[in-house]
Symmetry: C2
Subunit: 334 residues, 2 copies
């Protein structure tokens, strides 16, 4: 049985989305339970509306506060000890929940996660890892913004954690790990990246060397390691480009009568294309390196997207990601 | 009259592409001349084939060596003093050419450019700047890989140079300048970026503050400033994503009989879409900050793409980009 604690107040839509997604999750996965945390009258209202009140797989926990998107991590941590986010993480700490999912403030979630759960042995800094689609499947990229200044040893740790995650979720015993670098110019990479490459090469990981930005989507490695600044820029740049191309394609298809007709004819094909790269399918970033499974959903996730984040949490519990990371760092230390 | 020196040997296709592009360039722009530099028998053969031998707007210069893509910058600089690239840059230095264009080795081109031409007063490090398409037009991003470790003052210089370039080419007197940063997480940006933001805010530039990866393609600012590592990753990641999406769209449209029919109907619309973001239209990165106009074409550029790079060179000469940069740094220093 897997129990997921859910911060129902986080994200752009709050309980309307999070409670609906929780119900969809429960009905798709028999062996699961959830904690629904937040403003309990509102949560109960949502449950009643969806005829789910009294379901024994659901426990509602009241929390008097909500972490806002513009709260500083410190303010959320120190000033809102009864926030839905904090109560959620506490349930993981106490062992009542196996994992937790929030669509709220990332910085606050990381701060609360670090404070309450602490990091796993051997991990200096937790990282944020997301799955991105590639030509041939998918790839795990970390860090995506938790650590803006990284030393070589942090990048090594990201590689070890990323590989553990791939093994846990995709059952690949020796996932490939690439180090994000730049190629064409005079000096290949900065000093940190050069040293990180040496550490990764000596780590026992299946290290494939440097990968460049375009290799991410070519799927050259199962894991792509980078510092949080570079990773965040790569991720956001991709989002921006995809949005621009999507908007422009729509524009071209609605330009005149002919293009509108063409859009109708091409609709099934375009839909298949859109489904393939539907970012909602990839929703759910893992805050990896904590002594507990903490998943961050995109704030704007809809029911489908938030459900995917809940499923990511479930997969990580099933794949024993925490003990896999601990095991790998044990080997390293040995 | 504008004279452009062309390294005919650089790039994946050499004189076949570069000479054809030069001829197309000459016939599109009356007031231009070119130096064609490289293996003169081969260049003459190409000219004869295209019935352009003896054209008085063309001067052929023989060079005995060619910089290879895998030559180190130092080897190209010290070991190949009669390379087509070196002879090309020398022609800018001597004033015989107003600008130069090569599709060869970027690191070598930068090294030769710095050694022969030196940097403009006030510039510590030249940068590589490219134009990217946006929702609303285009944006100039720098640095794209010349400088992997930058201090705040370098980012400030990139902002000043980028703004000068936009003014020169697009005749905007107060182009907007954004600093590439990351937003959502705890600490916004690293120390270098934070300090650079202060310098940019105090610079007299039309500084719009931090922009994130997705803002690049939203066109939030005319200039986007970042260090060469981050810029290179953003650019290459974009290339990779665009390639993946293009390949997938093609795949979907050739899946079955219906989708093939739909492709036929949608062809004019898809073509218009592709033309809009045709990367060849944006070919030609400027090595900015040198005492001379040096343009790097993509190595795989075809005739159309290489011609665009030649036109970029011409536009920069016409827009007096060098004196604009010097002028701005004069103001700064004053």
């Amino acid at each position: 049985m897997i129990t997921v604690a859910i911060d129902c107040m986080g994200g752009d839509y709050g309980p309307k989305v999070t409670v609906s997604a929780a119900l969809a999750f429960l009905s798709s996965h028999a062996d699961t339970h959830v904690f629904l945390i937040g403003d309990s009258p509102e949560i109960e209202r949502q449950l009643a509306r969806q005829r789910a009140a009294g379901d024994e797989r659901i426990r509602v926990r009241h929390a008097t506060e909500v972490v806002q998107m513009d709260d500083s991590p410190a303010a959320a941590l120190r000033g809102k000890k009864d926030s839905s986010m904090r109560v959620m993480v506490d349930l993981v700490k106490s062992g009542e929940a196996d994992a937790c999912v929030s669509a709220g403030n990332t910085g606050a979630l990381m701060a609360i996660g670090r404070f309450v759960l602490k990091t796993l042995p051997g991990i200096d800094r937790p990282a944020i890892v997301s799955i991105l689609p590639t030509m041939s499947g998918q790839t795990y990229v970390l860090d995506l913004g938790a650590n803006v200044d990284c030393g070589p040893e942090h990048l090594l740790q990201f590689g070890l954690m990323g590989a553990s995650l791939v093994t846990a979720i995709e059952h690949k015993e020796r996932p490939t790990v690439g180090l994000l670098n730049i190629g064409e110019e005079a000096i290949k990479g900065n000093e940190v990246v050069k040293r990180a490459a040496e550490l990764l090469a000596a780590s026992g990981l299946n290290f494939v060397g440097n990968v460049e930005g375009d290799d991410i989507y070519r799927g050259r490695s199962d894991v792509v390691v980078c510092d949080g600044f570079v990773g965040n820029v790569a991720l956001k740049t991709s989002e921006g480009l995809a949005q621009m191309l999507g908007a422009a394609l729509k524009e071209e298809f609605s330009k005149n009568l002919y293009s509108k007709l063409a859009a109708l004819v091409a609709w099934p094909v375009i839909s298949a294309f859109r489904r393939r790269f539907d970012h909602r399918r990839y929703n759910g970033a893992t805050l990896i390196g904590l002594r507990g499974i903490v998943i961050k959903s995109h704030g704007s996730a809809d029911v489908f997207g938030f459900q995917k984040a809940l499923e990511r949490a479930m997969e990580e519990v099933r794949g024993n990601v925490l003990s896999r990371i601990s095991g790998r760092f044990g080997e390293e230390a040995a």
